[in-house]
Amino acid sequence: MFSPARAWREFPQRYRLEAAKCSGCSKILYPPRLVCPECGGRKFTQEALPRDGKVVTYTVIRVPPAGFTEQTPLPLALVELTNGVRLMVQIGDVEDPESLEIGMPVRLEFRRISWDGEAGVIFYGHKAVRAGS
């Protein structure tokens, strides 16, 4: 479970999908980094990610860790967005995990990602849901 302070530091990338675009080689980094792994550049501009993409691959977690147990089974996917950026996200609104498939079009929606019990902080971010659904 994150601390509220760590979650707060990541709000721009988690809430607004803000990525860092390298001023040297134009590579888009998500989550943002301090040094570009492509060219070693240290200058970046901020760019919001597109919210549409497709599932590259996925897995279904049947025994999730603390903070996620109420979301069992918990499908996780590697999603490639329309600009080529790939990110690891939960898949939301899954009626039947057997219905998931590679190549499935998805859209990122704002959701609760995890929560620290009944009394703790709620962590928000994005999940991928089947596009057009």
């Binding site: 709000f11 809430y15 607004r16 109420e70 979301q71 009626e95 929606e109 609760r112 709620i122 999940k127």
Partner: protein
């Protein structure tokens, strides 16, 4: 100064439960409930959906229809709800952060039973009208709860709608012509601090509460604006069940045709603060330039806000820019059995 809605949007969760599925568990007479309440199914939030997540998606839909409003120009954001995720800590800050409207804006969470949504609309449009802010967002959203087995359990549903108000005449899709509120102290429905479920006065919620306030507010609004029912293309009332909004509309002299577009409760349930404003989004989705709309909310406790809204020529340019309300209601539904529904709504006692 002309002010109005420059962008609007709704969000309805995909999960549903049918009235029969609830009635079966409690031994209730489903056909009698269906007839009596005119309810067929209702929306249910997932474990990862709440007032904040639905408000963010509804506001993004409103921004998509806004003709390029820069979120940094939003000077105020209000969320009306009786199901804010935190008892202490605002919902509005999370929504404002997520849409990129922070930090130069005023934010508040509002509460007034089912009327909190139109309260946020009322305050947002008033601030724009006063020239205090360039754009203001008003949101109505709820993941409402009914006690297991109570009549409310058949209606308490989830949904959100968001409206961006502004004064740029070339951006306005629906002008706010006038507004009127009618309020008394009427204890028809309440929830005390730390209580999980609300309580209500059964039939007392009808005539002295819903009907008296809705009708007085709508009549006061029409008298103030010098209008009568036949002037309106559409009328939307608060929707605690399927029956009340149709009955109150017809008692006031509106026809079925004027009422049916914004009448979503038979298939959506009662989204509380979201209810009549989501009805407004369904109307704006199909409205034509020049149409006049009457919106009248109701919140227990009790009060009723009314608005006269005139649709502009820009409406047809924005209707297709975000998911339509009726499509969200009718398509891609996930039906739940009562067990899964009880789990999602926190009705099952878990180990500490």
């Amino acid at each position: 100064m002309t002010i109005g809605i420059v962008g609007y949007g709704a969000f309805i969760p995909r999960r549903r439960i049918k009235l029969e599925e609830i009635a079966k568990v409690w031994g209730a007479d489903a056909p009698a409930y269906k007839r009596g309440l005119q309810l067929y199914e209702k929306s249910v939030p997932g474990a990862d959906e709440d007032t904040v997540t639905m408000s963010v998606e509804a506001t993004r839909n409103a921004l998509a229809r806004s003709g390029g409003v820069d979120p940094a120009d939003i000077g105020a954001l209000y969320i009306g709800s009786e199901s804010h995720p935190y008892a202490v800590k605002p919902s509005g800050t999370i929504v404002a952060e997520a849409i990129g409207a922070v930090p130069a804006l005023h934010v508040a969470d509002l509460e007034f039973a089912c009327k909190a949504g139109t309260e946020s609309l009322f305050i947002a449009q008033s601030l724009v009208k006063a020239g205090e802010v360039r754009y203001a967002v008003g949101i109505g959203a709820d993941t409402s709860q009914g006690a297991p087995g109570d009549a409310l359990e058949y209606s308490a549903a989830a949904g959100a709608s968001a409206f961006i108000f502004g004064g740029d005449e070339d951006l306005i899709v629906a002008e706010i012509v006038d507004s009127f509120s009618w309020t008394t102290d009427t204890p028809d429905f309440w929830r005390r601090e730390y209580m999980h479920y609300p309580r209500h006065g059964s039939r007392f919620t009808g005539e002295p509460a819903y009907f008296r306030h809705s009708m007085s507010s709508a009549r006061g609004m029409m008298a103030k604006a010098g209008m009568e029912p036949r002037d309106f293309a559409y009328a939307i009332f608060h929707q605690p069940n399927g029956k009340f909004p149709m009955r109150v509309g017809k008692k006031l002299g509106f026809t079925h045709e004027q009422l049916e577009t914004g009448w979503l409760s038979p298939w959506l349930g009662n989204t509380y603060s979201g209810a009549s404003p989501i009805g407004l989004t369904a109307v704006l989705d199909i409205a034509s330039p020049g149409d006049l709309i009457l919106l009248t909310s109701f919140g227990s406790g009790a009060g009723s806000d009314s608005f006269v809204i005139r649709v502009t020529g820009r409406i047809s340019e924005v209707q297709d820019l975000a998911p339509k309300t009726r499509a969200q209601l009718d398509e891609n539904k996930i039906y739940l059995e009562y067990g899964a529904y009880a789990k999602l709504r926190g009705k099952i006692r878990m180990a500490e």
